[in-house]
Amino acid sequence: MFRVQNDPIDLNELVRYVTDAEAGAIATFIGTTRNNNEGRNVIALDYEAYPEMAEKELARIGAEAAQKWQIQRMAIVHRLGPVQIGEASVIIAVSSAHREAAFAASRFAIEEIKKTVPIWKKEVFEGGEVWIGTQTGQPLTQR
């Protein structure tokens, strides 16, 4: 299950998906909108994707994780559009027979997502907004 969507992500759906009789461990990672970033009061994060390629890259991460570690099942769902404080922008769930693999694969997945998956986030903060990662000194887009 490798998907981007506008609806809130359902943690239970992912955990059910990776639940497996052969698994002794499930690791999940939930990325959430934090109310502050680099000294700014954050109001929300707004995610945009190149959706077809984003899902393809998420699946590629899953395939690579399955090659590196003995995992049973994996799911990654990323949310698009505005994500309010405390809400989930991404959830990763991995099951494995032994816990080592689930931990390693979920860690690997979030690091990879931040490197190669064509998803961008605009931070909406008190006083402006900025596309994260493209700052060059000053925020590029002021309200």
Binding site: G31, T32, T33, R34, N37, L45, Y47, E48, A49, Y50, E52, M53, A54, K56, H78, S89, V90, I110, I113, K114, K115, T116, V117, P118, I119, W120, K121, K122, W131, I132, G133, T134, T136, L140, T141
Partner: protein
């Protein structure tokens, strides 16, 4: 030949559109397409930005040649996942 260019995030905002069809001479590279687009959309030039390139949803190099009907996306630094 013609390629389809999609813009996302900061590039979409700067181009003022999400998609454009661009006429190119045979054998043009990704980099040549970018030069052409910068003439058509001067605001696309974001100083200091590190960019990746995708053709038909696969990452490619700046000097790869394009073909008629390709879907090309210029990918500004990605920032999905979670806050730092």
């Amino acid at each position: 030949m013609k390629v389809r260019v999609k813009f996302f995030a900061i590039l979409r905002e700067r181009a003022g559109t999400g998609e454009v069809m661009q006429e190119l001479s045979e054998g043009a590279t990704v980099n040549e397409l970018w030069q052409a687009l910068q003439k058509a959309f001067p605001k696309l030039n974001v100083p200091g930005i590190r960019m990746l390139y995708a053709v038909n949803q696969n990452y490619v190099g700046a000097n790869d040649t394009l073909h008629d009907g390709d879907e090309v996306v210029f990918i500004p630094p990605v920032s999905g996942g979670c806050p730092r």
